[in-house]
């Protein structure tokens, strides 16, 4: 990043600010669309300097400020609020530079308008990416408004303050909405200055969520709570078989049912439109559908596809000759294979779409993490330009990656609407959610190490990950796997080894399987974190050295910034978790550390065996995202990752039998309950010299599985190399 926050910036040119980027004046509100090109450039720069999990570098966030009639500043966000607190973060960044209380800002979903945001909402990078451009935009806005108010009220600009929607000084004030009537005369400042970290009044504060009260009152509309006039209810059935095809449908019984408007058959699915939700669901059960089941795949066969060296793959790290050193050091070598299971996202709001198909217009309300992917999919399916599309989004009931690549639902909903000539509310049943799911891929990590028993140093470390793909098959660009060789931003994220070891080897191989696979919270950091940090524990045990010491020994040799940050996190974790204090009987303790897009998360887990099951009883986690915009939000993300990590490490698993996903609902896909909550302690570290924050929504999940597995070994002496750990 060439822009540091305390250098003076060139302001936006007027042409860029108003003309080229477009301004719309509508009703009483001025809609300012800010600085696409300026923002895009800095975002692209950031994307290049970090691993963007969606693999797309050309994206530009869409941010608007509305000043509405009641003088509130409304930010329309292209990033969705999935529960991660992004809207609160955006409000904080804007309020900080506008120098107004956070309560004077509201953030609402932006939907589809303006330039595309191809990154969607994911990769824990919404706030990191917006940290500087959004503040620059808000600072520019502040100066414009101040200057305009000073001119209008004939007062000294230095005395002008913005307060609760009024601007001016002393008794001379004007309502923002009134001032905005003459937006056309506003002058773009030549220079804007954004605040230094030491000047922050809002950023860094542990603030509650801005969407807290409406959500507690049950008033926040999620996508599936929305409606359109004369809307009907739709339900669909897709092939339950991995490679199944729709052969025939006998709809005679379903069609006779009360309330059923139409049974709609498309190429690979069949659906029902009825007046009411219950009628649609009942009618769906009455359809007699014949599927061509395709090849009968079994779990073992699918797993067996994951052999090393069968596909081209991409080597992402090669220092020295790790494989040769391991091969030559048979007596002091260690080899192990780790496995992760297929996982479902299990987000509580099922994926739904409300769609209205008209002559040459499309209107949808979608619960998605990637509105522009949806728009592209609709464009290619229906040949309708984006100008003729209205895509609204709303608050989203959890994502975890599960909504990123599901483009077919809006398409299906539009076909249902087209068939009946009315808007249709399409909702997946929970069973359909599980069985037509895009799952986190199964994968194996082939680990190897050579150790010098005298010096207790690791001479060589290798991590070869063989996994299904998370991104490339799903992106609307054919042939990406051939072009790129591996999904290094998805599954392969986290293969890279940071430890100071002379011979390091990291490689990703993505195998083709018939299973629909997709991103899942933490992407590759979950399998790679599990494999590498469990394997580090194996090494520590083999040479009888404390697991903290082993890691610290391999982090101190250079002046690598990342290694220094990791050491600092470990030292804090060791103390905060009381690692060196004696344990109670029956308690196992394990630790792990991982870096995900430059955020460090290190964790100690304590476990017990209760009623024949592993139970996580205590967790201490240190997280370092460089800058903490809102410590309270960071804690919540860490708590969420810890709970989801415990759940996916201990019980969750999608399995396939006769080409069908066996799990259908929460009774056979076991997720954590309140009863599974451990005692949790979270410590946030920051870096003084940092210029921008890194993500917090996913990094805390990476160390969860390995620290639990290492704790199980500590207690039982059993090394578990496959997730979930399940029964004792």
């Amino acid at each position: 990043m060439s822009n540091t926050e305390n250098t003076k910036k060139k302001g936006f040119s007027r042409r860029k600010f108003f003309k080229r980027t477009g301004i719309v004046l509508g009703g009483t509100a001025v809609l300012l669309y800010f600085g696409r090109h300026r923002i895009r450039r800095s975002i692209a720069g950031m994307a290049a300097s970090m691993d963007s999990p969606s693999g797309v570098t050309d994206f530009s966030p869409k941010i608007w400020f509305d000043i509405n009639a009641d003088n509130k500043i409304i930010v329309r966000s292209s990033k969705e609020e999935i529960g991660q607190g992004t809207f609160t973060g955006i409000a904080m960044l804007v309020a900080e530079e506008l120098e107004i209380p956070i309560t004077d800002v509201d953030v609402v979903p932006g939907g589809l308008a303006g330039p595309p945001d191809m990154a969607g909402t994911g990769g824990s990078m919404s706030l990191g990416a917006l940290y500087i451009p959004l503040r620059e935009t808000a600072a520019t806005m502040r100066e414009m408004i101040k200057n305009a108010a000073a001119a209008k009220l004939n007062i000294d600009v230095n005395t002008v303050k913005l307060n609760k929607g009024f601007i001016g000084s002393g008794s001379k004030t004007i309502a923002l909405s009134e001032l905005a009537q003459n937006w056309n005369d506003w002058k773009i400042p030549k220079e804007v200055k954004i605040k230094k970290r030491s000047e922050f009044k809002i950023i860094g504060q542990p603030l509650p969520r801005i969407d807290l009260i409406p959500k507690v009152m049950g008033k926040t509309p999620f996508c599936i709570d929305k409606s359109m006039p004369e809307m009907l209810c739709g339900a669909i059935l897709r092939s339950p078989y991995l490679e199944g095809k729709l052969l025939s449908v006998d709809a005679s019984e379903a069609e006779k049912m009360k309330g059923v408007v139409k049974v709609v058959q498309e190429k690979d699915w069949v659906g029902v439109v009825a007046e009411k939700r219950y009628q649609a669901e009942m009618a769906l059960k009455k359809l007699k559908v014949e599927w061509d089941q395709g090849k009968m795949w079994q779990q073992e066969e699918l797993e067996a596809l994951h052999e090393e060296g069968k596909v081209v793959g991409v080597t992402v790290q090669k220092d020295g000759k790790a494989d040769a050193v391991i091969e030559d050091n048979k007596t002091n070598a260690l080899n192990a294979t780790y496995e992760v299971q297929y996982l479902a996202h299990g987000q509580m709001e099922p994926i739904g779409t409300i769609a209205h198909f008209q002559e040459d217009k499309i209107h949808i309300i979608a619960s998605t993490q990637a509105v522009d992917h949806v728009a592209n999919a609709l464009k290619s399916e229906f040949g309708i330009s984006k100008k003729k599309m209205t895509i609204e989004t709303s608050f989203v009931g959890g994502g975890f990656g599960g909504r990123h690549y599901v483009f077919h639902l809006p398409i299906d909903a539009l076909y249902l609407s087209k068939a009946v000539g009315k808007p249709v509310h399409l909702l997946r049943t929970r069973e359909e959610e599980f069985q037509a799911a895009y799952v986190r891929p199964y994968g194996r990590n082939f680990m190897g190490a050579a150790i010098n028993p005298e010096t207790k140093r690791i001479e060589a470390l290798r991590n070869v990950q063989v996994s299904g793909d998370m991104n490339l098959k799903n992106l609307p660009v054919p042939g990406l796997m051939t072009l790129l060789g591996a999904d290094f931003l998805g599954t392969g994220h986290g293969v890279h080894i940071e430890y100071e070891i002379p011979n390091r080897f990291g490689r990703i191989e993505n195998v083709e399987t018939p299973v629909n696979t997709s991103i899942w919270r933490g992407v590759g950091c979950v399998p790679n974190g599990f494999a590498r940090e469990s394997f580090m524990d194996e090494i520590a045990r083999k040479i009888s050295i404390d697991p903290f010491d082993l890691r610290l020994e391999h982090l101190t040799n250079g002046d690598d910034i990342m290694q220094k940050r990791m050491s600092r996190a470990l030292l804090s974790l060791r103390q905060e978790s009381a690692w060196d204090s004696p344990k109670e009987d029956g308690v196992g303790r394990g630790m792990a550390i991982f870096v995900d897009r430059k955020t460090i998360a290190a964790m100690v887990a304590e476990i017990k065996i209760v009623d024949g099951l592993y139970k996580v009883t205590k967790v201490t986690q240190v997280i370092n995202p460089a800058i903490a915009i809102n410590p309270e939000s960071i804690r919540k993300q860490a708590e969420g990752c810890i709970m989801m990590g415990i759940s996916s490490s201990l019980t969750e698993e999608v399995t396939i039998k006769d080409s069908q996903i066996q799990q259908s609902n929460y009774h056979n896909y076991k997720m954590a309950y309140v009863a599974d909550t451990p005692e949790i302690k979270i410590v946030i570290q920051e870096d003084e010299a940092a210029e921008r924050p890194y993500g917090v929504g996913e990094p805390p999940i990476a160390p969860v599985a390995p620290s639990i597995g290492n704790a199980i070994f500590d207690l039982t002496g059993k090394r578990l190399r496959r997730l979930p750990f399940a029964k004792v």
Partner: protein, 165 residues
């Protein structure tokens, strides 16, 4: 047979609906109260929790005819208004509990009932009683919020909560 019951103090009269329709869809689609959520549809997650004649009910698996003549309370009726919050909602705000918020109305309805049964529950009692599911991982804060609500309740014992029975 048309349905008749009360919801959040309001009468629903002669509603023309299939008597087997789950109460959830009646609440959401007929009465347009969207705070009660659908998630599993099989009584497994608690997102659809409401109170029927003072009992905690998972409305996705509760046919509307069983609510005939009853009093139904949903999240929208838990507090009379934002100025007089139910202690559970107050505690939920103070503990900044929610993430996506989708599962939360169900949790709050369950928590309100738990506190009637056990006014000052221990962590273990909360863990044993609340079987709702949250994917975002708010469980640690839910435990704290229930305990805080218990404290709020105990400290305002004298103020009766009008529409909670």
């Amino acid at each position: 047979m048309p349905a008749n019951f009360k919801i959040n103090g309001r009468s629903v009269e002669n509603l023309d609906i299939d008597p087997m329709t789950p109460l959830l869809w009646v609440i959401r689609d007929e009465l347009n109260l969207k705070g009660t959520k659908y998630s599993c549809g099989k009584s497994l997650c608690g997102a659809c929790s409401v109170h029927v004649d003072g009992e905690l009910v998972r409305s996705c698996s509760f046919p509307v005819n069983l609510a005939e003549g009853s009093e139904v309370t949903t999240i929208e009726g838990l507090s009379p208004d934002e100025a007089a919050l139910h202690p559970v909602q107050q505690a939920w705000i103070e503990e900044n509990v929610l993430q996506c918020g989708y599962c939360q109305p169900g949790f709050m309805m369950a928590a309100a009932k738990l506190l009637e049964r056990i006014p000052n529950p221990t962590d273990q009692e909360i863990k044993d009683s609340i079987t709702n599911i949250c994917r975002c991982g708010t469980q640690p804060r839910i435990i704290k919020a229930i305990k805080r609500a218990a404290q709020l309740n105990l400290s305002q014992e004298t103020t009766p909560k009008t529409n909670i029975r």
